[in-house]
Structures are given as structure tokens and as C-alpha cells.
């Protein structure tokens, strides 16, 4: 039990001042507080899983494939769509509110929200590695990242994996962070902003880079795997309480995820078609984008640790040590054991 219950009703402060606005405010706060505390009863073990994922994020294709190919059903799971989100932080807020059991989400929101104790989750499998690119506006000549000096570059969010990748690329190009104007834009806005010359480059996950290429508004300056080979990207997370109550369900879910990941790697053409249905983007862009993504389920623990160290360096996350924090956050016991 993390929260103490039963203290709320006892405060009775609304009686202190008779009538008028103060009493109204006080009672409103009391009612809200009671609403916050009223949930969280213990549930029996279940096969039903409420899953969240990101809209049009090609990294998370395994979720769609597992559903379409019936891998979840094969494992006897009743997978319910808990929510489709435009951004990872929104999905983590839904975890915080207890709306989701498991989720396909970016490493950045998962780690940051866990470190701030906004969510209590476990990372149980990798979803992909690589899969982002630096895209430069068409018509802008650039040999390498150093050509972006003095330019405006959009990243999907401060402290995201893409932000980190771009800072790594800057270091490699011997450019200071203040020599480039880094701003935050959500990926759906990036292509329009690039087309209208509002920004000179962006760093985003697939399929946005390849969409920009297909629409002739930008070109690939560097793929993220060239900046940091096999860097961790999206991860599969589970609510810690849910995993404790339903370890078997989580194990079966991970098994279905592994099957789907293998299926994608073994059937690239068919998977590209499914990627087209999943993201709504044309097959050509999806095919090109998929070549830039490594679909893997084994966790890149060292990479995750390196990323947490970066978050500590820039002051976003305050934990004792990246290693011990990752040890409590990452749980590999649900992954299938190799025989």
C-alpha cells in the first residue's frame, strides 16, 4: 500500500469557515481528493490485457502483426485496445491513471516517467533498435551534420532518444549545442514545417523520415544506426502490479510479441503491406522505412543504461546510479528462454 487511505474524510476543514466561497472551494477539493483515492481494488488473475500504443509508429508494427496473425489468440489472450496515443508521454499518463496494463512505447517516456515515479512499470522486452533519421530540407546542401551550424532543427521532445541521438551527432561533428537552434515539434507537424522552410532539418522515428523523402521535401542526412549502432528505441512495458498479479499472462503476451517480431523479419514483404495498413502510409515509404528499423525483442540493457546516464547528465532524471535504476526497471524473466 503506497497511499494512506481514510485520512481524507477526517480533515473536516470545510466547517471552520461558515458559508460562502471558502467552504465551496474546500468541499470541491475534498470531493476531488475522494475521487482520486476511490480506485485500485485487487483483481483476480486475468487473460484480458489492456494495451496502449502509438498511432502510426512503424516501430510498433509487431503489435499489429501479432493481432492480425492471431498470435495473441494462440496464446489464449484477450487483448483489448486500451488506447492509441499521439505521443509517448500521453501513453505514460494513461499508465499513471491506471488505464493500461501493457504498452508499446518509446524508451524516453518510459524511463522518464518511471524515474519521476509517475508510473510503476517494468520494461519486459525490446520492440526495435535503430529506426530514426536526420532529415534535411530539400535544396539544402549538407555533406554532414556540421553543415547544420546555425540552422533550426526539430526533435520530437527535449530529452527524447532522438534528442540524444542528435546531440551525439553534434559531438561527432564537433559542434556545440548552442551552435544549432534545437526546437521541439511533434513528428506529424515536422514534415509540413520542413516543406515550408520553417525548419532546416528534423530528427524523428520512422515512418516520418521516409514520408518526407517520398513527398520530396527532404533527404536522409544520416540514419540513427550510423550515429549509435543498435541503439534502443521502443520498448514493451507492463504495469508492475499487473505483472505481479498475472505473470503468466505477461509471459504469454511477450511470447506473442517475440513471434510477431520474428514473423516481420522472416516475411519482410508481407510485413511491409501490414505496415502500410498500420500506418496508412504508402507501401514504398513503408518498405524504405522498414530497412532502417531493426525489429528485435532482446533487451539492449547496456544501451538503456547509457541513455539513462544521458538523462542524468542533462538533469532530467535524478537517480542514484543508472545501473541500479535500470536493474529495478528492467525485468527479463518474461522473455522466452533459449533452449
Amino acid at each position: 500500500m503506497r497511499r494512506k487511505r481514510g485520512q481524507v474524510g477526517g480533515s473536516g476543514t470545510s466547517r471552520v469557515i461558515p458559508g460562502g466561497t471558502p467552504a465551496v472551494i474546500a468541499s470541491a477539493i475534498l470531493i476531488m481528493a475522494l475521487m482520486f483515492t476511490g480506485c485500485g481494488e485487487k483483481e483476480p488473475a486475468t487473460n484480458a490485457v489492456k494495451v496502449g500504443y502509438l498511432r502510426s509508429d512503424l516501430h510498433q508494427l509487431a503489435y499489429y502483426v501479432a493481432g492480425e496473425k492471431g498470435f495473441f489468440t494462440e496464446e489464449g489472450l484477450d487483448v483489448k485496445e486500451g488506447g492509441v496515443f499521439n505521443a509517448g508521454p500521453e501513453e505514460m499518463s494513461a499508465f499513471s491513471a491506471g488505464e493500461l496494463d501493457m504498452g508499446y512505447v518509446g524508451t524516453a517516456p518510459a524511463v522518464t516517467f518511471a524515474a519521476q515515479e509517475m508510473v510503476d512499470i517494468l520494461i519486459v522486452a525490446q520492440i526495435n533498435a535503430g529506426g530514426s533519421s536526420i532529415i534535411v530540407r530539400s535544396g539544402l546542401e549538407a555533406g554532414d551534420v556540421s553543415a547544420l551550424k546555425g540552422r533550426t532543427v526539430a526533435v520530437p521532445g527535449h530529452s527524447t532518444v532522438q534528442d540524444f541521438l542528435f546531440r551525439l551527432a553534434l559531438t561527432e561533428a564537433v559542434l556545440g549545442e548552442d551552435e544549432v537552434n534545437i526546437i521541439t515539434l511533434k513528428p506529424p507537424e515536422m514534415i509540413g514545417a520542413l516543406a515550408s522552410g520553417q525548419i532546416d532539418a528534423f530528427v524523428a522515428w520512422e515512418p516520418y523520415p521516409q514520408m518526407a523523402v517520398a513527398q520530396n521535401v527532404g533527404w536522409v542526412l544520416e540514419n540513427s544506426s550510423e550515429i549509435w549502432p543498435h541503439h534502443p528505441c521502443c520498448v514493451l512495458v507492463v504495469d508492475r502490479g499487473f505483472a505481479e498479479r498475472n505473470p503468466d499472462t505477461v509471459r504469454r503476451f511477450v511470447a506473442a510479441h517475440v513471434k510477431a517480431t520474428e514473423y516481420i523479419n522472416e516475411n519482410p514483404l508481407e510485413s511491409a503491406d501490414m505496415g502500410h495498413l498500420f500506418t496508412g502510409q504508402d507501401s514504398e515509404a513503408v518498405e524504405a522505412a522498414m530497412k532502417n528499423i531493426e525489429f528485435v525483442h532482446e533487451l539492449n540493457v547496456k544501451g538503456l543504461q547509457r541513455y539513462v546516464e544521458f538523462l542524468m547528465e542533462i538533469g532530467v532524471v535524478k537517480v542514484e546510479s543508472a545501473k541500479s535504476f535500470c536493474d529495478t526497471l528492467i525485468d527479463q524473466q518474461f522473455l522466452p528462454r533459449e533452449n
Partner: protein
């Protein structure tokens, strides 16, 4: 009465702090967290190096441009529509159709027209502020006592003189009410408008979104407190200006 207003404020804050300390508010930050967050925003900035004061200035600039544009266009148009039945009949249907569209619905268009940043945000403020000012101006002009207009006409005043010397001053109180509502709605619109991204990297709405992205909910609430306080101060300023300028009423 003043004493009581302060009292409710302090009581609400105290209660909020107590409930947060008792763990009853879950992950909602407490007032003390929020004050610490404000300090962080001023000293460290979010993202680091992007200080609160510059976020605030960027937002104020957008609001003032959008609001000024709304005043310049809505007041004359309102006086025309209020004083001329023909103008009113022609423009009223258009106004009534465009008015209910929330400024946020214009956002995608604003971005392709004006890009991200200053002018698209100013355009959204303009949309938010324009209609309250326009409608209040029309109402103000229409509610001027017809006897005054007749009297002026009897004394030989021309139409132009009546509009400038009788209708406009008479509508002033209502126009100022429109300005107060307009700047309030404009300020509310701004924060949402900035949430899609800004070019300069500054703005209060943008700052709140960044705080959410890095799971710093104390900074989210600190940003809300700043927005509320500035909105309150702007309202007070218009009210003060009204008192000073309309002393003759």
C-alpha cells in the same frame, strides 16, 4: 470583503498542501513542490537555459500582437455594424457562422498560412479576442439612448459626427467589457496554440508541454500558476485603464 478573498485563497492552498502530504492526491504535486518548481524554472529553465522570464515575454508578445490586431479591426467594424442596419444585415450571418468555430480548430490552417511560432499564435489570439470585442461593440452602440442620437440630429449633427461624438463614447463601457473578455480568451487560446510547437523555443504553453514530456508535473502546475497570475494581472490592468479613461461616465 478583501480579507475574505485572501482567506479563501490561503485556505485552499493549505488544504491542497495537507491533502498532498497525506498522499490523498496521488501524483499531483503539492504547493511546496510548485514553488520549488517555479524557482527551478527561473534559475535553471526548461529546457535548461530557457528561462521562465523569456517564455513569459514570448507569450506576452504573441498575445499583444494578436490582441492589438483584434482591437483595431473589431472596434471600427462593430461601430459600423451597430450604427448601420444595412451593414449589420450583410455581415451578421457571416459573423454568426464563423464565431462558433473554436480558435483551435483553425490551428492546422494557421500553421500552413503563417508557419509555426509568432504569427500563427498571434492569429489564434486574434480569433479568440476578435468576436467578444466585436459583439460587445455592436451591443454597446445599439444600446445608446436613441433620444441622444435624435437630439444630436436635431441640432444639425452629421452622420459622421453622430458616430464619433455620440455612439462611440456611449458604447465605451460595453467596448471595454469586450476588451476584458477578449484578452482573457486570447490568453487562454495562446497556451493551446503554442502546444503544437514554436520556432523560437519559447512560450509558456510550449514550456508546459516540455514539462509534461519529461514528467515534471510540478513544473506543469508552476506554468499554470504563472498563466493564471498573468491573466489576472492583465484583466486588472484593463479594469484600471477603464476607470482612468472613462472617468467622465
Amino acid at each position: 470583503m478583501r480579507k475574505w478573498k485572501c482567506c479563501s485563497f490561503i485556505l485552499a492552498l493549505g488544504l491542497w498542501q495537507l491533502l498532498a502530504m497525506a498522499g490523498a492526491l496521488g501524483r499531483t504535486p503539492s504547493p511546496v513542490d510548485v514553488v520549488k518548481g517555479l524557482y527551478d524554472l527561473i534559475v535553471t529553465g526548461l529546457p535548461p537555459g530557457y528561462y521562465l522570464q523569456w517564455h513569459l515575454l514570448a507569450s506576452l508578445e504573441r498575445v499583444l500582437i494578436g490582441f492589438a490586431l483584434a482591437v483595431v479591426l473589431a472596434v471600427p467594424l462593430g461601430i459600423l455594424m451597430g450604427s448601420s442596419t444595412v451593414f449589420d444585415a450583410v455581415l451578421d450571418p457571416l459573423v454568426e457562422v464563423v464565431r462558433p468555430i473554436p480558435p483551435l480548430a483553425w490551428l492546422p490552417l494557421a500553421v500552413i498560412w503563417f508557419g509555426i511560432g509568432l504569427f500563427s499564435a498571434a492569429f489564434m489570439i486574434f480569433l479568440g479576442a476578435f468576436f467578444p470585442i466585436l459583439l460587445n461593440t455592436i451591443t454597446g452602440v445599439k444600446s445608446v439612448d436613441p433620444c441622444l442620437v435624435e437630439a444630436a440630429r436635431t441640432l444639425g449633427a452629421r452622420r459622421q459626427t453622430i458616430i464619433l461624438r455620440v455612439l462611440t463614447p456611449g458604447a465605451m463601457p460595453s467596448i471595454v467589457t469586450g476588451l476584458r473578455i477578449g484578452i482573457g480568451i486570447g490568453w487562454m487560446t495562446l497556451v493551446a496554440a503554442e502546444m503544437t510547437g514554436v520556432r523560437s523555443g519559447y512560450g509558456l504553453g510550449y514550456m508546459i508541454l516540455t514539462a509534461r514530456d519529461v514528467a515534471r508535473y510540478d513544473l506543469v502546475v508552476a506554468g499554470m500558476v504563472v498563466i493564471g497570475t498573468v491573466g489576472f494581472l492583465m484583466d486588472r490592468m484593463v479594469k484600471y485603464a477603464e476607470k482612468r479613461l472613462l472617468r467622465w461616465m
